[in-house]
């Protein structure tokens, strides 16, 4: 019974949390807790993977907890199994990383107790099979992750990040709560089975969809609910950031899929449209923000926003196809989305690990104070490079496969009957292509500024390689990125039964395709073979290298950089993060961020330097959130006068209330 084992794993994690409280003070505690988490996650992962591949039947369990007349239901079906696998994979690797990384933690007592609890909460969300348990775990997940975000609470930014995060999170939870209120009805049929059973009318479904987009969307980071994400994810310790970005957003996506695809029944066609619009906006805005950041971890966080957008594009397409009964196309889009879920959890964790390694080695997150790390931390930078290539969707790595599948799904959309959807999908395709290209730019920038060139600060010059555990975790993920890139057929086949169960259609069996290629629709239409591409590139590179070294010269001489004859010793003459982004800022920034560049020249005769100032505006924040905050403050100020009235005035309030009620009872009752 997978569900039982999974629940035992959760229990074990809670036990580890208690252990963390006790052992936080001693040195061994870190290794102990994280090791335990690693083992538990490994177990849970294997269980989930086994269930997924075997395509096993749903295993359910009801415990007499939670709401007494409902009980708390748990269930492992294929969807849950997939997400359990993703979550526990990420969790396990993060724990392994943390065994090494956690040693550098200044305040372990603020991390160790909450980390296992956070893992447990994420597992519980996926296991839950009734509204109460689901929301309880969901909000508990927010809570525990909030505690982790507040781990370094001395920095004012982190406190603010934690505040924004938890408020947004509970906003999302309340939205979901309302959604479940609608789904369950006034009698409170909270069990998912009951919700699935009864049919929901059009209007209700529409409202639920909106609420779920608010709830799950705010957790996943859909624009315009993403504002907390780039604040909170960087604030946490790096292995937690990896979990937040790589895994927790996936749990949010699971919530969306669970409610919209599973509980809500047949969607109406425009549902897909709404999702697609939001998703496209998210993808584009996320990557543009990422391009403007100079804080490495914040850049990664924004790129998470972008990837969430890509995943939701897949989901939106799946919704649209499903609503029109095109089950094959729906299966393609859904597979693409899930595949990207997996991929993103892999390379985003990897990248955050890299950022964490840099942070521990240099104490810096600002790219403009880094550089040249490839010489000092070769392995870490290699792994980070793989991550960058993967997230930039370069073949033969995994990022490309899921994006390729998404493109293939978009190419199927002219068959859709609705004009709006057709045109929208085309536009979405363009946006997707644009953001894919921009991602490549963003990560050239990230890797180039951080790891290449000459060190821009002494700390960067004095950096040292990351520890064994961290490297092991990173390289493991790098290998996984490559494997799932060159052997995508297996992943797709593993997802087959799942898509079958959710969108009533599946991709053709890939195992039968020769040469390990993948054929989403038909041989003549499109096919891709990561394996062969990889082999070809490797072979031709090796071939040329050996040939040249054999037949032509292999001589090599080190010399100062030429730089057109004017080499400048100061590392400050290198391109910085800001200057690298300048061309793109000029192209996109002027519209999206109202970017303005001001050059402040010193007056004639003054030898002072000229200063180039760039001011960017986060319009979402300035147009949506700032006004709300202002409104609340104004209201609070106005009402606050009521604290300073006199007894007579208070009495008159009572008096008026009495008169009012008497009038009511005299006139109406």
């Amino acid at each position: 019974m997978p569900v039982i084992i999974a629940l035992w794993c959760v229990a074990a994690l809670f036990a580890l949390a208690c252990l963390g409280v006790v052992t936080a003070r001693w040195r061994a505690g870190t290794a102990l807790v994280y090791g335990g988490c690693l083992a538990t996650s490994a177990l849970a992962f294997s269980i989930a993977l086994g269930h997924l591949i075997a395509g096993g039947a749903n295993s359910t369990l009801v415990l007499p907890l939670g709401l007494p007349w409902v009980g708390s239901h748990f269930r492992v079906d294929l969807l849950a199994a997939f997400f359990l696998a993703v979550v526990n994979l990420g969790a396990g690797v993060a724990s392994c990383y943390a065994i090494g990384h956690g040693r550098h933690e200044a305040a372990p007592q603020r991390v160790l107790p909450f980390y296992p609890a956070f893992l447990a909460a994420m597992n519980l969300v996926i296991l839950a099979d009734d509204a109460f348990t689901f929301l309880l775990s969901w909000e508990f997940m927010s809570l525990s992750s909030w505690a982790l975000v507040m781990a370094h609470h001395r920095e004012a930014d982190n406190a603010r990040a934690g505040y924004v995060y938890l408020v947004m999170a509970s906003f999302g939870t309340l939205a979901l709560l309302l959604a479940f209120g609608l789904l369950a009805g006034p009698e409170g049929g909270y069990a998912f089975a009951a919700i699935r059973a009864d049919h929901h009318p059009e209007a209700i479904a529409a409202l639920v969809l909106a609420l779920v987009l608010l709830g799950a969307g705010s957790k996943a980071g859909l624009v315009p609910l993403h504002v907390w994400l780039p604040l909170a994810h960087p604030a946490a310790p790096s292995h937690v950031s990896a979990l937040l970005s790589g895994v927790m957003t996936k749990v949010a996506i699971y919530g969306f899929v669970r409610i919209v695809f599973d509980l809500l029944g047949e969607p109406s066609w425009w549902a897909g449209m709404v999702v697609l619009v939001l998703a496209a906006a998210t993808a584009l805005l996320g990557v543009l923000h990422a391009l403007m950041q100079t804080d490495l971890k914040r850049l990664l966080a924004y790129s998470t926003v972008e990837n969430v957008g890509i995943i939701f594009i897949g989901l939106g397409l799946a919704l649209a196809f499903r609503a029109n009964g095109m089950s094959g196309a729906a299966a393609l889009a859904f597979t693409a989305a899930l595949f990207h879920v997996l991929n993103h959890s892999l390379f985003k964790s990897l990248l955050f690990f890299g950022a964490g390694a840099v942070l521990t080695a240099t104490g810096e997150r600002d790219m403009d104070r880094l550089g040249g790390l490839i010489h000092r931390m070769p392995w870490a930078s290699f792994a980070f490079l793989v991550g960058c290539a993967a997230i930039s969707a370069l073949p033969p790595l995994n990022g490309f496969v899921s994006e390729w599948l998404t493109f293939q799904a978009i190419l199927l959309s002219p068959a859709l009957p609705q004009w709006g959807l057709k045109i929208l999908t085309a536009a979405v395709g363009a946006v997707l292509a644009l953001s894919a290209a921009l991602v490549a730019a963003a990560f050239v920038r990230a890797f180039g500024i951080t790891f290449l060139g000459r060190p821009r600060s002494p700390v960067a010059a004095a950096a040292t390689e990351a520890d064994r555990f961290s490297l092991a975790a990173m390289l493991f993920l790098a290998v996984l990125c490559l494997l799932s890139g060159i052997l995508p057929g297996y992943v797709i086949d593993a997802l087959g039964p799942l898509t079958e169960s959710v969108v009533a259609g599946r991709l053709p069996l890939q195992a039968s395709v020769p040469w390990l290629a993948i054929v989403p629709v038909s041989e003549s239409r499109s096919s891709y073979d990561g394996m062969l591409v990889f082999v070809f590139i490797a072979l031709s590179a090796l071939l040329s290298a050996t040939a040249i070294h054999r037949l032509a010269s292999r001589a090599l001489r080190r010399a100062p950089a030429w730089d057109c004859g004017y080499p400048d010793p100061s590392p400050l003459t290198q391109y910085s993060a800001g200057s690298f982004a300048q061309p793109l800022r000029r192209v996109f920034g002027t519209i999206v961020f109202r970017a303005r560049e001001r050059v402040e020249m010193p007056p004639p005769g003054d030898a002072g330097p000229a200063v180039l100032r760039v001011d960017l505006h986060d319009l979402v924040w300035e147009w949506l959130y700032a006004p709300i905050a202002r409104a609340v403050n104004v209201a609070a100020d106005r009402l606050n006068h009521l604290q300073f009235l006199t007894i007579r005035r208070y009495l008159s309030l009572v008096f008026l209330a009495l008169i009012a009620l008497l009038l009511v009872s005299a006139l109406w009752l």
């Binding site: 907890l65 939670g66 709401l67 007494p68 007349w69 007592q109 603020r110 509204a131 109460f132 929301l135 309880l136 909000e139 508990f140 809570l143 507040m150 609470h153 001395r154 004012a156 406190a159 934690g162 505040y163 938890l166 408020v167 509970s170 906003f171 309340l174 709560l177 309302l178 479940f180 209120g181 609608l182 369950a184 009805g185 006034p186 009698e187 409170g188 909270y190 609340v632 403050n633 209201a635 609070a636 100020d637 009402l639 606050n640 009521l642 604290q643 009235l645 007894i647 208070y650 009495l651 309030l653 009572v654 008026l656 209330a657 009495l658 009620l661 008497l662 009511v664 009872s665 009752l669």
Partner: protein, 483 residues
């Protein structure tokens, strides 16, 4: 089930009374505090025997039924834990000289009288008696709020006194009206004020008269509940009195007043012709919730802030009862229980915090999790619980209220959610400053008694995950009565 020992109901009343008499004479604070704890403990035992024994037959004056048995138990429990807390608290107050032994004797006696009054109000089967009990409770709390004799304390006490008296007067008028409504049906004399009788014959009462009566009762007892706009006394009384009293006020007295309102709501529901009291309560509840939520933002005094949060939660509870229906009523009852446990535990923490930091000003307290990890984290836990975050009991009740409301009247639910979110934002904002960030304020070590604090939090936590079926049975029965 064991047979109940003779006169447990009376015991719940007599023990505090005798204790009060002794305490009034007993000099020296240590024995007094001990006796105080001991008496509270005995009362708790009696209440527990009520809880687990079967209910005695209702008399003309006293009754124990599903509606009040839980609250009696809760009342005595919190009374007991608070007495433990107050022992360590007043010790510190003596050292700092804010309280003199003479006042302390007075304080302990008053404490027991308050217990007596509240238990009486709970077990009273006679609406007149209930009224008297609540008046006594008001007077005693007024005394205790003013006990520090500072100008603010006196001022708060006076405000509380005047507003409370007016409220009580209104409640009395409502009570008289109920009698007038009952008298033609039941006949003159005591029976017409006995609650069980009233419920039995409520169907035959003049509905219009009941409506007017309920207006007065709602406003009268609502003043004690602290519903906006009748709330004015509450924040200052909490802020200026000794913290144990703040805990008792928020944790118990509000509940007792609300319990009175509930009794009469049952009466209203028993009479079909009478207008459903729902809309009134929903309106008052929402007003209190939203108002208190906004008021939280500008608070500078930590105790006053949590007082406002009490108003907010009373608003939620009254809203729930106003909505009615099995789910909402259940949620309301659960919320009452959870709120009194949580809020009193918060005040325990706040009391010690104010003592170690030497101030109640939020701006001068900071980084508690650094300076006093245990206190700080328990404050965090308490605020997390009161803000309705899982896995605490309040999450359960809020879950039920919101989800059951939205399906019936979306607009109200959205208002409710709005209020909840606003309040959450405010609480979290303050918590950030109090528990995290750079440490501010004194770093003196606490000789606090954490037992009560953790006991309450443990209960709340447990309730968030598992509700004992017995409790559920009681609550469901009561919610069916509440309609």
């Amino acid at each position: 089930m064991m047979r109940i020992p003779f006169g447990a109901t009376e015991a719940v009343l007599l023990i505090p009374l005798c204790a009060a008499a002794v305490l009034a004479l007993l000099p020296g604070y240590r024995p007094a505090a001990r006796l105080n704890v001991f008496a509270a403990f005995l009362t708790l035992l009696a209440a527990l025997s009520l809880l687990f024994g079967e209910h005695p037959a209702p008399g003309h004056y006293l009754i124990v039924d599903d509606l009040n048995v839980v609250f009696v138990a809760l009342n005595t429990l919190v009374g007991f834990t608070t007495s433990i807390f107050s022992a360590s608290y007043v010790g510190h107050e003596l050292e700092t000289g804010r309280l003199t032994p003479a006042y302390l004797r007075f304080y302990h006696a008053m404490y027991q009288i308050l217990m007596f009054a509240m238990n009486l109000a709970l077990v009273a089967n006679n609406i007149g008696l209930m009224w008297v009990a609540i008046e006594i409770a008001t007077l005693t709390t007024v005394m205790m709020v003013g006990i520090y004799r500072t100008h603010e304390a006196l001022e708060a006490a006076w405000k509380y006194f005047i507003l409370g008296s007016v409220g009580i007067a209104l409640a009395l008028f409502g009570t008289i009206l109920v009698y007038v409504a009952a008298e033609p049906v039941i006949g003159e004399g005591l029976d017409a004020m006995v609650w069980t009788e009233l419920v039995g014959h409520a169907a035959a009462f003049d509905p219009a008269l009941l409506n007017v009566a309920f207006v007065f009762l709602l406003l009268g007892y609502g003043t004690k509940v602290g519903l906006a706009p009748l709330h004015a006394w509450l924040p200052d009384a909490h802020a200026e009195g000794p913290t144990p009293i703040s805990a008792v006020l928020s944790g118990l007295l509000l509940n007792v007043a609300l319990y009175a309102v509930l009794r009469f709501k049952v009466l209203m529901t028993a009479n079909e012709a009478a207008v459903a009291p729902g809309p009134l309560m929903v309106t008052l509840g929402l007003v209190s919730l939203v108002f208190a939520a906004f008021m939280l933002y500008r608070r500078r005094d930590i105790k006053r802030m949590f007082a406002y949060s009490s108003i907010e939660h009373m608003g939620i509870i009254v809203f729930a009862f106003g909505m009615g229906g099995p789910l909402a009523n259940f949620a309301g009852l659960l919320h009452m229980t959870m709120h009194s446990l949580t809020k009193s535990s918060i005040f325990f923490a706040v009391g010690h915090i104010a003592q170690v930091k030497g101030t109640q000003r939020i701006s001068e307290i900071g980084g508690l999790t650094e300076t006093h990890p245990l206190l700080g984290w328990s404050l965090v836990l308490g605020v997390v619980a009161i803000a309705g975050l899982p896995p605490m009991g309040i999450f359960t009740s809020e879950f039920l209220v919101v989800s059951s409301t939205f399906a019936r009247s979306p607009l109200l639910a959205i208002l409710l959610v709005f209020g909840l979110l606003i309040a959450f934002g405010a609480l979290l904002l303050r918590l950030n400053g109090l528990a995290f960030g750079e440490p501010r304020g004194g770093t003196a070590s606490v000789k606090a008694s954490y037992a009560p604090l953790f006991a309450h939090l443990a209960l709340v936590f447990a309730a968030g995950i598992y509700l004992p079926p017995q409790l559920v049975a009681w609550f469901r029965h009561v919610s069916s009565l509440l309609g």
